[in-house]
Structures are given as C-alpha cells and as structure tokens.
C-alpha cells in the first residue's frame, strides 16, 4: 500500500501550467491592449474566486462580506499612495496591511457559526464602508481617483498592472495549493466537517481557521488593490458592494465548490459570460442570477465536480489516495 498524491493528469497539468505561465509572462510583447486589459480582469476574478473557495469550499466558512477586504485593499492603496509611496509597492503593502487587520477581526468573527458568520461578515463590511466614508480624503460616497498612476505612460502602466495581477494570482494560487496539501489543509477540511471531532483528535481549529481567514483576506485585499489599479477610481459604495461577493459566489458555485480547479473554471466562465453577454443589460444580470441558482440546485459540486465524476480526473490533486488496495467498487476515483 502506498499513498499517492498525484496522477498522470496532474503531472501533465503541471507541465501545461508552466508553459502557460511562460506564455502569459511574455504576453505584453505579443498581445493587444484589449487582450491584456481583459486578462488582468480575468486574473483578478480568479483570485477572488479562489479566495472565496478557500474559505467556503475548504473551510465551510460562508462569508457574504468578503467585499470588506476587497474594499479595504483598495482603500489602503489610496491611503498609502497618498503618503507618496509608489502605487505598485502600495498594492502589496495594502494587501499585507489588510491581512494584518484581518487577524483581530478573525478572533471575533470566527466565533460565529454558519449563518451568523455569513451575515456578521456582511454587516462588518457595511461598517468598514461607513468608517471609510468618514475619511475626508475619500469625500464620502464620491470617492477619489488613484491619479498617482498617471505618472506612468499608458503602455508601461498597462504592462505593470498586468504583470502585478499575473504574479499576484500565480503566487496566491501556488500558496493555496501548498497550504491545501499541508497538514493545515486537511485539518481545515476536517474542521469544516466537524469541528468538535477535529478538536478531539488534536487539531487546533482556532489557529487553522484563523490562518485560512487571514490568507483569504490578504488575497481578496490584493484583488481589490489590483482592481483599483486597473480602474483608477475609488468609490466606497462600489468597492464595498456586496456584488463582489455575489460574483465570487457565482464563480465558485458554477465552477465547483471545494475544488481547486472549480474556482478557476468558474472565474473563466464568469469572465466569458461577462464578455459576451454583459451588453444585454438587465437580461445579463437576470441570467447570471438564474445560472447561479440552477447550478447550486442541479450541480451542487459545480461543473468541475460533474466533470470529475464523469471522467474521474483531478488535475490539481490536493487529497490523498491509498493505492494497492483491493479496490471496492464505490471508492472515490482519482
């Protein structure tokens, strides 16, 4: 008997990912402005989906308030650049700052259970929004623009933002991958399924949850900061809107909750839908809501879950597989 953590598909996947990464890094030399700008948005979507999936899919922590971190990430970027820091350094500093801030927040919020946590986070996001509104720099709901970016010429600026988003996304996904495969990753899933039992076998639930929470907060804040970089304008109402969490939920639900590949697939789909149908206005939004609803009802494990069941492939395995057993007919497929 042996424990396997990879398979033929996953090895191929690693190869493809490496190639893809190299291609993406070279993109600024190859692609049109439009393609780069759209890819930047896609990367941010992937970050958002992956971070929400980290909390909800692997940790069972459904938050309807991730816009708190998204908004704070953007706000912190504004504040830090206002001190004269270069906007690109400010992105990272902002995300770190929000990550730091999420530590005390987690101490309180993680005491809440299920629905109370979900809504508690939402209320916290509103509080964050109202507090940011008190900052005179932000001018209430009107907000402010990140004009510090105007110091770069348009081409450089586009390329730098693109690369920041690409590196941010790659770093976060890689980090997530290793965390999930670590002892904390499996512990988090145990906690998700039964916290008391996890405690009884020596898992430090509080600590593990806290780190996941902080990680997700950091990632989401980075997404918010990157979004600000590519959109320039900061308006509290927009950045602290529950709509961001709605998008995250949509992406993860459609792609596959609790599946590493699911969040990415969901972000790709959301991105495609947005690109093609957003012009239909009201009907686009109706469709988005309806698809999220249908997916959650009929494909509880999302599209990736369905693919996994049908074809039995995992591209990015984070679990453990015992091989060399007398295989029982219902065993979980690799």
């Amino acid at each position: 008997m042996k424990i396997k953590r990879s398979n033929a598909y996953s090895k191929a996947t690693i190869f493809i990912i490496v190639v893809l990464f190299i291609v993406l890094i070279m993109m600024p030399m190859l692609a049109s402005n439009n393609v780069m700008e759209r890819l930047t948005v896609l990367f941010i979507y992937i970050i958002m989906a992956a971070m929400w999936n980290t909390l909800a899919g692997f940790g069972g922590l459904i938050s309807i308030g991730q816009q708190l971190f998204f908004g704070l990430g953007a706000y912190a970027t504004i504040r830090i650049t206002n001190l004269g820091v270069s906007p690109f350094a400010a992105l990272l500093m902002a995300a770190c700052l929000v990550g730091l801030l999420s530590w005390p927040i987690s101490t309180f919020m993680l005491r809440l259970k299920a629905g109370e946590f979900a809504i508690g986070m939402w209320v916290l996001a509103s509080i964050g929004h109202l507090l940011v509104n008190l900052d005179p720099l932000i001018q209430g709901e009107t907000g402010i623009s990140l004009i510090a970016l105007n110091q770069f010429d348009i081409e450089t600026r586009r390329t730098l933002i693109y690369l920041s988003a690409l590196l941010g996304m790659s770093g976060l996904l890689l980090g997530l991958f290793f965390i999930l495969r670590s002892r904390a990753g499996i512990a988090m899933q145990a906690i998700r399924d039964n916290e008391e039992a996890a405690d009884s076998i020596g898992v430090d639930a509080e600590k593990v949850k806290k780190w996941f929470f902080i990680f997700a907060a950091f990632g989401t804040a980075l997404a918010g900061a990157l979004w600000l970089a590519q959109a320039s304008s900061f308006q509290p109402k927009t950045y602290f809107s529950v709509q961001w969490t709605a998008y995250m939920i949509f992406m993860v639900l459609v792609g596959g909750l609790g599946r590493f590949e699911g969040a990415i697939l969901g972000a790709l789909l959301f991105f495609a839908v947005e690109t093609w149908f957003a012009d239909t206005g009201v009907w686009y939004l109706v469709g988005l809501g309806a698809v999220a609803m249908l997916c959650s009802l009929f494909l509880p494990k999302g599209i990736w879950g369905a693919i996994e069941n049908r074809l039995g492939i995992t591209l990015i395995p984070v679990g453990y597989q015992v091989t060399g057993l007398v295989v029982d007919k219902k065993s979980k497929k690799t």
């Binding site: 145990a190 399924d193 008391e196 009884s200 453990y320």
Partner: protein, 249 residues
C-alpha cells in the same frame, strides 16, 4: 510490539451540570496505562458526559483533573489529545467530506507525529487494525453507521493514544463482529494503552475489562472486579433488571 509510555489520569470531585440539570455528582476517577476499565450504567447516568469532561470536550462545573500530576482541568481537548488522551464519540462524528484514510490521517499528522511518511504508516495501520482497509478511499459520508463507529476508533488510534476512551463502539455488532472488536481492543491493551470502555453489551465488555464501574445518576455506585460489580445488588437493580442472560451469553 509498540509499548506505550506510562501515563496516569486522576480526576477528583468532578461535578457537571447543564443549567439546572446535575449530570455528574462528585466523581473520583483514577486510571493509568495498565487499566482496562469498563463503565456500565443506565441510560442518562452520565457516562458519556464523564468521558467528555475527562477528554476536555466540556469543562467540569467543579472538580480537578490531573494528567501525570499536571493540572489539565482547563486544557482544551486538542492539547489533551496531543498528550495521549483521546475519546471516541457515541454518536459518530466523521469528517464526511473527505475519505476514510484522510479522516484517520488528520489525526495521525496532528497528534501522533509531524513526519508525513510516519503519519501515513500510522494511519494505515490504524485503519487496518479496525478492518477498514477496503473502505480507505471511500468518502466518509457514504459509509454506514457501524463503519462510522469503526472509523471513530481508527481515528482515535491514529493519534497514538496512551489513554483511550471508547463510547459504545460495540452497539449493533453481530456476535462475530463483536468478537473481532474485542480482539482489536485486547491488542491495544497489550500495547499498554489504558482503556475506558462504555458499553451496554455487557458480555463483550467483560472480555476486556479488568475493572468495572457502574454509574447511576451522576455517581459511581459500584467499582471493582467485574464479578463483584455485576453481583452488586444496587447494580442489579439500577442497571441489569432481569436481563441477567445478557451476561451469561
């Protein structure tokens, strides 16, 4: 054979109440790694609650618990688990979204060892000991009630406990299955793991227990060798009723 290092647990004057309901009424309890203690008692006597308190899932209302002369009364369960004090749950609590192997592996990597390879071995061994190898890759959600109980045991074993508390893991087994379970537990006993076992199927309990405790209404009403306890009048009245055949069978 692995011999477990010595460990001793001492609880004195344990009281536990839920709001107005007094569930444990001054329990004194001592055990070490050489013990194999069976606990019987009518439903609601407080047996499971005693396990919860000893293992740290719930704090006692008053009283003191010491492990190797260290006060652990206010230590959370996870720290006790790391020191070798582990329980199973009467109503199984599997991690339903991950596989049986992963269920057991979490326990191994968090309480037994930090080394991944070692943890694999410990997990596989525990699973094997509980006869669950064929189910190793099954999602825990899809296994039946009795397999869930075995999983509870396997998971507890993977922490490499010194003192192991079992809460009704034998209920619902057929005779043959029960005998298998007894074998498993005897193996553990030989390894020097101290065992506390709550069970209503007295005849299988008696195959393992060196000491028997009978609880009623939050008190220990009898304690001693199995024979003594089973013939105790109070025990007969509170627990066995007319069901003496359960012992003889």
């Amino acid at each position: 054979m692995i011999i477990t290092p010595y460990s001793q647990l001492q609880a004195t004057g344990i009281h536990k109440s839920f709001g107005r309901v007094q569930v444990l009424n001054g329990i004194d309890f001592t055990m070490d790694t050489n013990d194999a203690i069976g606990i019987v008692g009518p439903n609601g006597a407080g047996k499971s609650t005693l396990l919860s308190v000893l293992s740290g899932a719930q704090p006692p209302t008053s009283g003191q618990i010491k492990l190797n002369d260290q006060d652990i009364t206010h230590q959370p369960a996870r720290q006790r688990a790391k020191q070798g004090l582990v329980r199973t749950h009467q109503i199984p609590k599997p991690f339903s979204g991950i596989s049986v192997f992963e269920n057991v592996f979490v326990a191994a990597i968090h309480s037994a060892t930090n080394n991944r390879e070692e943890a694999y071995d410990i997990a596989l061994e525990s699973i094997k000991l509980c006869g669950m190898l064929p189910l190793a890759n099954r999602e825990a959600d899809s296994i039946g009630l009795l397999d869930r109980k075995r999983l509870e045991l396997a998971r507890a074993l993977a922490t490499q406990p010194k003192l192991l508390f079992l809460d009704e893991i034998g209920g619902g087994l057929t005779d043959a299955e029960a005998l298998q379970l007894v074998d498993t537990i005897l193996t553990l006993r030989e390894r020097g793991i101290g065992i506390v076992w709550i069970e209503h199927i007295v005849h299988i309990l008696l195959r393992v227990a060196k000491t028997l405790i009978c609880m009623d209404s939050g008190r220990i009403i009898a304690q001693g060798t199995p024979d003594d306890v089973m013939s105790n009048q109070q025990v007969m009245k509170a627990y066995m009723g007319g069901a003496s055949h359960a012992v003889s069978a």
